[in-house]
């Protein structure tokens, strides 16, 4: 799996460097400073992601410019997104880094959102994965045992419109009676709540899962259920390459119902899954950026992904998922942009009925 992606990356790099060199030649960032706006605070997941990438862009962008991460936290990333939309010049000297928390309000149609991903140029995207697990006392060993499962469960959540929408929707689609307890400040406190017994079903990103939940599983304090999965190059949700021994959500669904998931709920699940996990973080350039500049960025990203030093770091710090570059990223993000209106409305209705949350 990994190899295939790397090869694809290299292939992409070769093609782009052969075919597009004349185009990219006009672009030179020598002596310039490129600002990369991250709409979150220092030390958060998106900030770390950008800071890991920044030195590599410095190395591979034409002219070796300085790449500075600029944090612009506020309004759950809406402030930074709006700033990018309204105030940034399309000269290639300012880029934007979005996260699932930026895409969700966009998908849900939150009124403060002014940014519009349909207009921007995506440079690359980074997926991430999640693993759900449950307390052992229910005797559940795999998703099969969830068929007809009637126990009341509790899940520690940051909020129904946060990335938790995916776990909550997954539990709902599997027919579980899960009470969402809101107010936890993140997945870390959520995991501690699970360990304390305050909740009894939880999920972690795969990196946190490996370090923090694996030991619990070994001690018999947690049972792994499923991963959310990962998007393959045909747009299907397949097994997570980092935790391949667990079924992914569509498989778990099939184990419970004996058929593949379909319908409005599934369409909504997939759209939000792609926005929240499949292409969780992405780098963007403004609407009017010239094709040469966009191409310069995309080829730099392709070179970065092929850099062995970068690959080592991806494994260590970004969960080891294949990074999507240029058209690949565009194609994956299309899943987010082309969400049918009825799926959006389905989610809004579900949020209202299930959690009494109205999106304004």
């Amino acid at each position: 799996m990994q190899k295939k992606w790397i090869l694809l990356g290299i292939a992409f790099f070769l093609i782009s460097s052969l075919g597009l060199v004349p185009l990219a030649q006009g672009v030179d960032f020598s002596g310039e400073t490129i600002k990369w706006i991250i709409p979150f605070g220092v030390g958060g997941g998106s900030d770390v992601w950008a800071r890991l990438y920044a030195p590599f862009f410095q190395k591979y962008l034409p002219g070796k410019p300085t790449v500075a991460v600029q944090n612009m936290p506020g309004g759950g990333s809406i402030t930074g997104g709006n700033y990018f939309h309204t105030r940034v010049k399309a000269d290639g000297l300012t880029a934007f880094g979005s996260s699932g928390s930026t895409s969700f309000p966009y998908l849900l149609g939150v009124s403060q959102v002014k940014y519009d991903f349909a207009k921007y140029h995506i440079v690359f995207a980074s997926p991430t994965g999640g693993v759900a697990y449950i307390k052992p006392e229910f005797g559940v060993k795999s998703p099969k045992d969830l068929k007809g499962f009637k126990e009341k469960l509790a899940y520690a959540s940051q909020g129904a419109t946060s990335l938790d929408l995916i776990p909550l929707l997954s539990f709902e689609m599997l027919g579980l009676d899960v009470k969402a307890v809101f107010g936890y400040k993140g997945r870390g406190p959520g995991r501690v709540a699970f360990e304390q017994g305050e909740t009894n079903i939880d999920y972690q990103t795969t990196t946190a899962f490996t370090k923090n939940v694996r030991p619990l599983i070994d001690q018999g304090l947690a049972v792994p259920l499923m991963t959310w999965g990962i998007l393959d190059d045909k747009g299907n949700v397949v097994r997570d390459p980092v935790e391949p021994e667990f079924p992914c959500f569509p498989e778990a669904y099939e184990m419970v119902y004996g058929k593949k998931p379909s319908g409005s709920a599934w369409k909504a699940w997939k759209a939000f899954f792609v926005a929240g996990f499949g292409v969780q973080k992405a780098m963007w350039l403004p609407e009017k950026t010239s094709p040469e500049i966009v191409e310069a960025y995309r080829s730099a990203a392709a070179e970065i992904v092929a850099d062995p030093e970068f690959q080592k770091m991806v494994k260590k710090s970004l969960g080891g998922y294949p990074q999507l570059v240029g058209q690949e990223a565009r194609q994956a993000f299309n899943e987010v942009l082309s969400v049918p209106l009825e799926s959006k409305q389905w989610v809004l209705k579900w949020l209202k009925e299930r959690f009494d949350v109205t999106v304004k």
Partner: protein
């Protein structure tokens, strides 16, 4: 033990050692600048740790964060301006001492106890790690709610003779804390369509507005120097002696510091107030608090340095940060490719010891350098304030602007400053308002979670009942000893 000695060797390796010193110097500078704290320090250092080996990066980051609560005492004592959120309570008695010309004494005592508190924190960190997990896990949301209430109960003792005003001021603080996004539901409160208010008013601005702004205004009105006597009195050696005389206060407050740091979610910004409230509560001769009682400096200063040792525990073991600066440190760990978790005590135990040694050594260097610097710096208190004021105004404006880098920061500083000045004029206890503000998010979040999860049965949990008894005892103790004293004259220690 082997790992401990090996890590000590690593720390004294020249390249690591230089990084530790660099971290200490950055930390001291940030501490001295009012309003800037660990979050800013971490944000400055984070970009440069990329590609470092984890031991070196630990020496740098922990060296920095360890000494902020040491040097942030300078502005708190000498100008009545909080050097960082960890030294707000130090103002209460440190600043009156400076007015009496005893700034050097207050600083000497503060640095001595900072050192001891810091070493205590490092020592606790080294022994408690194996048993830390069950303790952290014993505190669920209902218990954390009760702890926040315990913090809030300090308002009583900090408001002295004006309990009603104290409670109302705390209420104002809670309301300021409620502005912006609600902690548990996707709603924004009292934002009036202003984007700036969506995230609430930042702590730096509330702290500087309530404490620094009114002080600058009043000093300018008086037009004199900070020190009311022309010659500087007792020196820093007297302060050291004061500190040694009160070793039990240091011990108790260091323990408070470690516990508050250790429990995730309570937040480091109340530790100084809890320690300060505690020392008043447990002291019979209280009439000098607020007028320059050296114990009022010793208590918060020993607690705030001890806190950093405690704060590393949930960060490294659970990946849940106990304070804002620890949240950024956590990001740093990820940049280094380290996932915090139980493995920190097994496969990464050498890193843990590097953290402990860095913490201990940084405290020694930090306190030493501060004592060395205190003599020339205390001279500032005899300069007429009109010369200092422009500089101070510039600094607090810059520090506020650092919060979210928008115009809103400056407007919010002005509004908070006017509120603080009015409160000061009319004798409303500002510490009470600040405590309310700092705890409002915790109180709301944990109560909300407790009720959602357990209905009303959370009240019957054993931990909740024990904490309730402690709160009652602390309130009774505070009230009882207060009544036994003859009515005080002059200014209250609250203001």
């Amino acid at each position: 033990m082997d790992a401990a000695l090996k890590s000590l060797g690593v720390i004294f390796d020249p390249s690591h050692f230089l990084m530790l010193i660099l971290g200490v110097l950055v930390g001291l500078s940030i501490g001295i600048l009012p309003g800037l704290g660990g979050i800013v320090g971490m944000s400055i250092l984070l970009p440069i740790i990329y590609g470092m080996d984890p031991h070196t990066a630990f020496a740098l980051l922990i060296g920095m964060v360890a000494v902020i609560p040491t040097s942030d005492t300078f502005p708190s004592v000498m100008m009545g301006i909080p050097g960082s959120s960890a030294s707000q309570a130090t103002i209460m008695d440190g600043y009156p001492l400076a007015k009496k010309g005893e700034a050097a004494r207050a600083l000497g005592a503060a640095f001595t106890v900072s050192l001891m508190g810091g070493l205590f924190g490092a020592a606790v960190l080294s022994v408690i790690v194996p048993i830390a997990r069950p303790i952290v896990l014993a505190f669920g949301s209902p218990e954390l709610f009760m702890l926040a209430l315990l913090g809030l109960s300090m308002v009583g003792v900090l408001s002295g003779k004006r309990p009603i005003k104290g409670v109302l001021a705390a209420g104002i603080g809670l309301m300021i804390g409620a502005l912006g996004d609600a902690p548990a539901v996707p709603e924004y409160r009292y934002t009036f369509g202003i984007d700036y208010l969506m995230d609430g008013i930042p702590l730096v601005i509330v702290g500087l507005g309530l404490f620094a702004f009114p002080e600058i205004v009043d000093l300018l009105i008086k037009g004199k120097a900070i020190s009311e006597v022309a010659t500087l009195g007792k020196g820093w050696l007297d302060g050291v002696k004061d500190a040694l005389r009160h070793k039990f206060i240091i011990l108790r407050c260091s323990m408070i510091g470690v516990i508050v740091g250790f429990l995730p979610g309570l937040g480091g910004s109340v530790v100084d107030w809890i320690a300060y409230g505690h020392v008043i509560q447990t002291t019979r001769d209280r009439e000098n608090f607020g007028k320059g009682d050296i114990r009022g400096v010793i208590a918060p200063e020993s607690a705030n340095n001890a806190k950093e040792g405690g704060g590393l525990i949930p960060t490294l073991l659970f990946g849940i940060p106990g304070s804002g600066s620890m949240a950024v440190f956590l990001g740093g760990l990820l940049i280094l490719g380290i996932q915090p978790g139980p493995a920190m005590v097994t496969e990464n135990v050498d890193l843990l010891y590097t953290a402990i040694w860095s913490l201990a050594l940084a405290n020694v260097f930090g306190a030493g350098l501060c004592i060395f610097l205190s003599k020339p710096i205390t001279r500032l208190t005899v300069i007429p304030f009109t010369y200092l004021a422009p500089f101070m105004i510039l600094i607090i404006t810059l520090a506020s602007y650092q919060a979210s880098r928008g115009w809103g920061d400056l407007i919010a500083l002005l509004v908070m400053g006017i509120l603080g000045w009015v409160m000061k004029q009319y004798g409303w206890p500002r510490p009470a308002a600040l405590i309310g503000y700092v705890l409002s998010d915790n109180i709301e979040t944990y109560l909300f979670i407790s009720v959602q999860r357990y209905g009303l049965t959370w009240i019957t949990r054993r931990g909740v009942i024990i904490l309730a008894l402690i709160i009652i005892a602390s309130l009774v103790m505070g009230a009882f000893w207060q009544h036994k004293k003859a009515p005080r004259t002059g200014e209250d220690y609250a203001e």
